[in-house]
Amino acid sequence: MSAIMRDGVEDLEIGLLLEALFRRYHYDFRSYARASIKRRLVQARDQLGFSSISALQDSLLHEPTTLGRLLGYLTVQVSEMFRDPSYFRALREKVLPHLRTYPSLKVWVAGCSHGEELYSLAILFREEGLEERTIFYATDINPAALQAAEAGVYPLDQVKKFTANHQKSGGRSSLSDYYTADYGRAIFDKSLRSRVVFSDHSLVTDAVFGEMHLISCRNVLIYFDRALQDRAIGLLRDSLARKGFLGLGSKESLRFSAHAAAFLEFSREDKIYQRQDA
């Protein structure tokens, strides 16, 4: 069989599997950027020991445990605390002075994965004296990721990087104040999640659930195709209070979005946007 024919079949199998995943379990990856999804599915196929994507699909439809294992491949994203320290410095120095003027605050970490960014924000808000008036929403589509976020336990060997990032972000305390080390793990203080609501939510299929003052949604939109990016950005816009803030990943932009006019570039370098009055 020629390479082209083989690839054509594999692309067909991927389309069918994503359709099956949606129709059977309502996880919708059909409009994700396909190159990255394909890479992850091929990795899942190989590491879970299937001979083809179709064989993986067969197991997905008939074997209850396959869904969770596959979601691990399709959704897990690596992150780190205070990733891109300049983003957190900009929140601290430019955004929080605005948020300080509100008596109560809602902050949404959309696509929280294992919670690194959530804990970063909780620490930032505590350092700046805003934690007490804030409710944090941490959402993801993967229940296993939400469990990990709720546990707040990270490999100790990552904490050196987290600590350096925290310092570069203008941290006013020592990161070691917030965790205890135990058998190679850093267990973050549960008080950091006392004001956090963890919830299953999809930017693809779910709707607005609150009026936020700050939404941090970083390195989530790059996984979507153009049309889905527009849907998600519309949802984020509709979830923001007047003059609420939206933080994106360092290589994400609203420039090409249908909703660009709804936002001001509040801090261009740091990819922080502010909702404009309609």
């Binding site: 020629s2 390479a3 082209i4 690839d7 692309d11 950027a33 396909r34 190159a35 990255s36 394909k38 890479r39 992850r40 994203q77 690596v78 992150s79 390195n219 790059i222 996984y223 195709d225 153009r226 990016q229 990943g249 360092s250 290589k251 994400e252 932009s253 090409f256």
Partner: protein, 191 residues
């Protein structure tokens, strides 16, 4: 906008690759007939230096790749630091912050494998000097999809490990000196 018929060039390198690219990219004209997609492993503290360095020395346009941007002939795109660079079937570029591959992000394998899918036989991939084995599996995928696989001669490379690994994984690759690679690209331009 490009498509499978216009094809693409993808280049990967690590240690010594900036010097090697300084030999190759400035020879290309502003109307080079394909987009050039480039992954270079760079230490994080020099992450934003590549694009300005090459902009000053190249006739073709040089920029950092942006998510969802169409890959356009006559433009050289560098993968941004800390993101993988991929290509979609419609010829648009996409970025991902997936886990490191071969201890690298961006990874050459990730770019080459995605480009092999998107462009098939109209892709030319080049593995340059480097001290690890990133790009080897990707080059194999490129050759399997009918694309052209070129490797810088390890004997003349600043670091031989990466081209040597590529040759071992992809024996059908053509081994060339940097000068021959430059001449090959010049012929594409003339064609």
């Amino acid at each position: 906008m490009t498509d499978a018929s216009t094809g693409a060039i993808a280049i990967g390198g690590s240690a010594g690759a900036v010097q090697a690219l300084l030999r190759l990219l400035p020879t290309l004209s502003a109307d080079f007939p394909a987009p050039v997609l480039i992954v270079v492993h760079v230490p994080p503290d020099r992450e934003n230096a590549l694009v300005p360095l090459f902009q000053g020395k190249c006739r073709l346009a040089v920029k950092e790749a942006e998510d969802k941007e169409p890959a356009t002939p006559g433009v050289a795109y560098f993968a941004p630091s800390d993101y993988h660079l991929l290509v979609e079937a419609d010829g648009t570029l996409s970025l991902s912050s997936d886990e490191l591959v071969n201890h690298s992000r961006p990874s050459i394998d990730v770019l080459f494998e995605a480009a092999a899918d998107a462009f098939g036989p109209s892709l030319t991939c080049i593995v340059l000097t480097g001290a690890n084995h990133d790009g080897a599996q990707g080059l194999k995928a490129v050759a399997a999809a009918g694309g052209v696989a070129l490797v810088q001669d390890p004997a003349g490379a600043y670091a031989a490990a990466m081209p040597a690994a590529a040759i071992e994984a992809c024996p059908e690759a053509t081994i060339m000196s940097l000068d021959s690679i430059a001449a090959y690209l010049a012929r594409l331009e003339a064609a």
